[in-house]
């Protein structure tokens, strides 16, 4: 009798354990089975915080869906590894250089249909130019970041980065892995050669930048500037403005030759089963109120012309056609086609 009870108890226990285990694993899928899910990518940091707290939930509520955001890099290899007919993402949010690579591989649709995304009609021309795959929903301006407490004086030109007085406190990026570094290389071609594609002039200019402190991530450059380890560096405006109000001795310089654009681009994957929702999401992200909230949180310049930012943000971000006209867009298609060759060359330059 005891044995039978013991056997029964053990069987029940195993059954209950198995059910609990399967239930735990399956619960999220069961709970969400009724809601359509839009799978997107997105940044971490402040962007991720506000998307998770406000912007995402508002979208879910309005469109009766679930937003599943992958903020774990790298996005492109994951998209490449997934099936074209059932891609891992419906909407890819990343920088322009990666978007071009994705478009070249047929992983994302090169353009977004203005009929399905009405807010496209209100964006600045740069946001849907021939240098852009999909649509740029925001941009940052890549220029120079400087310490204001070192007596460097006024910096107005990119070329001042080559001034010998910045030897030892000059900052740049590991070009093969950083979009800002890649855009800056193209700028070197413009500054010292015949244009963005003048790689020989760019390489010569990079040689002359040494000694230079180079980092992988822009976050690391921000900290080096804050700590005074670098005095003048290539950086995007949001990397400086985000410390607004913290009394930091740093400032962003918008060089007279123009600023490079670092676009936040959205594209839709061709195999997405949620096309309608994906287009709705892109349209939603271009809404003036959404653009304003995000722009004032992360200091990105909104792509929608109708956005009215508060005075503090309006003064610094690219919010008028005149300011936007200073943006220089990089031909990422051209760059990506030569990326391996460029990587090898710049690695040699900075290794030496």
């Amino acid at each position: 009798m005891m044995k039978a009870l013991g056997s029964l108890s053990r069987r029940r226990f195993l059954t209950a354990s198995a059910s609990l285990g399967i239930g735990t694993i399956a619960a999220p899928y069961v709970a969400r089975a009724d809601d359509p899910t839009l799978r997107i990518t997105g940044w971490g940091g402040k962007w991720g915080e506000i998307m998770k707290a406000e912007i995402g939930p508002a979208f879910e509520s309005e469109f009766k869906c679930k937003l599943q955001t992958d903020s774990a890099f790298p996005y492109l290899p994951k998209l490449q590894a997934s099936s074209r007919s059932a891609p891992i993402y419906d909407v890819l949010h990343t920088n322009s250089n990666e978007q071009w690579a994705a478009a070249e591989m047929g992983l994302v649709e090169p353009k977004i249909d203005p009929k399905l995304v009405p807010n496209l009609a209100d964006v600045y021309p740069y946001a849907i130019s021939d240098k852009i795959v999909g649509v740029s929903i925001f941009t940052s301006a890549i220029g120079l970041g400087m310490r204001t407490d070192k007596g460097y004086g006024n910096v107005t030109s990119w070329k001042e980065l080559w001034d010998a007085k910045y030897n030892g406190v000059r900052g740049g990026y590991v070009i093969p892995v950083n979009s800002l570094g890649q855009a800056f290389l193209m700028m070197c071609g413009t500054l010292f050669g015949k244009g963005q594609t003048d790689l020989d002039a760019a390489y010569t200019a990079l040689e002359k930048l040494k000694p230079i402190k180079i980092v992988d991530f822009t976050g690391a450059m921000e900290k080096m500037l804050l700590s005074g380890e670098v005095g003048l560096c290539v950086i995007h405006d949001s990397g400086i403005y985000r410390y607004d109000g913290q009394n930091q001795p740093t400032d962003f310089v918008s060089p007279s030759e123009g600023v490079l654009s670092l676009e936040q681009v959205l594209t839709i994957t061709p195999g997405s089963k949620m096309k309608e929702l994906a287009n709705a999401y892109v349209n939603y992200m271009l809404r003036p109120e959404v653009q304003k909230r995000l722009a004032e949180t992360v200091w990105y310049s909104p792509a929608n012309k109708k956005v009215k930012l508060d005075a503090k943000y309006d003064a610094k971000l690219l919010t008028t056609p005149e300011k936007v006209s200073k943006l220089i867009q990089v031909d990422w298609k051209w760059y990506n086609e030569r990326k391996d060759e460029i990587d090898q060359r710049v690695n040699r330059i900075f290794r030496a």
């Binding site: 971490g44 903020s71 994951k78 059932a86 991530f217 700590s227």
Partner: protein
């Protein structure tokens, strides 16, 4: 039966050993050299941890040396962050599940390999250790692609399976090491005295191989808890492990929160080792 006393006739070698002892001053300096080398190794091992602790306690939002003060602001930020807390809990969950699966599978496999008279044992052992040879990032990518092909998404069990794959070799290796010198006559004696195979396993075999199994389990836990390359491809949105969350965070916010998270990880690993010592007896492993 041979006893320890039976070895005593071979002991007179000791005076011969004494005759080749180094002179006093050399021995004296040798001891200092030995001490200096050990201190250098300890500094080499602990320096990164010390830097992390300084970074975590420094109030400035960037690494500054010498530090300008002591503050717990980064720990507050870490513990107040829902993302970090979720990642920490999830990492612990995955590490515990991985430890269980790798330990059961690895120890069983080692027993089968040591006892099973299997054909091609060496090849099987080499295959089981092969995940250590392959860059973990490729393991992660390969598993990700497999899951995509199977259309199972990126479930938690998939992540645990990935971690098990890279931690299994540690358990197999450490258990095989113990089994190498295992005296099977002890099991035969237990069975001759009427113990069933199951009882023999739990009361004779397992206690004797416990040091090796436990060593493997500790490795499995630590490797899983710190695992980054495999997790990078296998974590699902909203279920990121702590190392992946830290990586994503430092791309945008390289402040002392990273240091605080690292200190918490180190303390947790320490707590786990102490916990294992108190619950299953780490001292037996140390004797190994």
């Amino acid at each position: 039966m041979q006893t320890s006393a039976s070895h005593s006739p071979s002991l007179p070698a000791a005076p011969q050993a004494a005759s080749v002892r180094m002179p006093g001053p050399i021995r004296h300096y040798g001891r200092y050299l030995y001490l200096a080398i050990n201190i250098a190794i300890i500094i080499f091992l602990l320096a990164p941890i010390a830097i992390v602790v300084v970074f975590a306690l420094n109030p400035t939002p960037f690494i500054q040396f010498p530090p300008v003060g002591v503050s717990l602001r980064w720990f507050e930020k870490f513990f107040a962050s829902r993302d970090f807390m979720h990642a920490l809990g999830f990492s612990l969950e995955v590490a515990v599940l991985t430890t269980l699966s790798a330990t059961v599978l690895g120890a069983s496999a080692a027993l089968a390999l040591a006892r099973g008279n299997l054909p091609g044992t060496r090849l099987i052992v080499a295959t089981m250790l092969s995940p250590l040879m392959l860059p973990a990032i490729l393991t992660g990518l390969a598993l990700f692609q497999t899951y995509v092909l199977l259309d199972v998404g990126r479930p938690t069990w998939g992540l645990v399976a990935g971690h098990t794959l890279v931690t299994l070799p540690y358990v197999v290796r450490t258990t095989l090491a113990v089994l190498h010198n295992f005296d099977t006559r002890l099991e035969e004696a237990a069975q001759n005295l009427g113990a069933s195979p199951v009882r023999t396993f739990f009361e004779v075999t397992l206690p004797l191989i416990k040091p090796g199994v436990l060593a493997g389990a500790i490795f499995a836990f630590i490797v899983s808890f710190d695992q980054f390359p495999v997790s990078l491809f296998l974590v699902s949105p909203g279920n990121e492990t702590l190392p992946v969350t830290l990586f994503n965070y430092l791309k945008f916010d390289l402040d002392g929160t990273i240091g605080a998270a690292s200190v918490v990880s180190i303390v947790l690993a320490f707590v786990v080792v102490i916990g294992l010592d108190r619950t299953v007896g780490l001292r037996s492993y140390v004797k190994l």
